[in-house]
């Protein structure tokens, strides 16, 4: 099963809609709650990153027998040094983003610890691609 969600950069009031929909769907599919939480927390962090740091993006969710794969692609400033961005506490979040309760520099490390696989590629000035995989029987 494949589902696609649009994610609007800068719009904090709709941030989390994709993750919320996926959570509802996975519950209906009777996926175990621990796996659901791992996936949706990772998804939500990636979703908020597009809202906080990029202009526009999408999430492509693929639900398979044994794993769920979500690919986030965005148009945005991109990430120059991915290793640096992955470090706990590293953040370039704006004042506005911090006021919303984000900008701790914990999102990417959080995705890494919750998901079974995380792959990030990025081109400065163009955008970022974040791929998350969670196995269903892990």
């Amino acid at each position: 099963m494949n589902i696609k969600f649009d994610i609007e950069g800068g719009n904090f009031s709709s941030a989390g809609l994709a993750s919320s929909e996926v959570k509802r769907l996975l519950k209906q599919l009777n996926i175990d709650i621990k796996t659901i939480k791992r996936l949706v927390v990772a998804m939500y962090e990636a979703e908020v990153n597009i809202v906080a740091h990029a202009y526009q993006g999408e999430a492509d969710v693929e639900i398979n027998e044994d794993h769920i794969k979500v690919v986030f692609t965005d148009h945005g400033p991109g990430i120059d040094d991915i290793d640096l961005a992955m470090q706990k506490g590293y953040s370039t979040a704006s004042e506005q983003v911090r006021e919303m309760g984000f900008g701790a520099g914990m999102g990417l490390p959080n995705i890494k610890s919750h998901a079974d696989k995380l792959n990030i590629t990025s081109e400065v000035g163009k955008g970022t691609r974040v791929e998350i995989i969670c196995y269903l029987n892990a």
Binding site: A15, K23, M106
Partner: protein, 124 residues
């Protein structure tokens, strides 16, 4: 404050609301629910990092992302401190996701102290 109350290591949603002089909104209260653990933070990623379930979130922020964060983290009680008022958007989101909100005039520090004193435990 007496030894007697200190022995109780869980509270109901209604008793928590009473302790923090708060008002309840969002999803209807689960009167059976026993609150044992709480975590106070204004940083949503710190909340999302936790792998403990069934905790209460105490925060000084009042925006829809607080409720979204609670939703993703399977948190069903959020205490909004510092007299911050929840928007109807927040309240609707909370209802949809079965999250109860307590709004309190007290600061995060005071709420935490009061609940700690009642036996609510930290997660670390």
């Amino acid at each position: 404050m007496s030894l007697k109350t200190k022995n109780i290591n869980h509270l109901t949603v209604h008793s928590i609301a009473q302790v923090v002089n708060g008002t309840i909104s969002g999803a209807p209260v689960d009167t059976e629910q026993k609150i044992e653990y709480a975590f106070a933070s204004d940083l949503m990623s710190d909340v999302l990092m936790l792998d403990t379930n069934d905790i209460t979130l105490i925060t000084g922020l009042a925006n829809p992302q607080v409720i979204r964060t609670a939703e993703m983290s399977d948190i069903n009680l959020v205490i909004i401190a510092r007299d911050k008022k929840c928007s109807s958007e927040m309240i609707n989101l909370a209802r949809e996701n079965n999250i109860t909100i307590i709004e309190t005039p007290y600061s995060v520090f005071k709420v935490s102290g009061l609940l700690y004193n009642q036996g609510i435990k930290p997660i670390f």
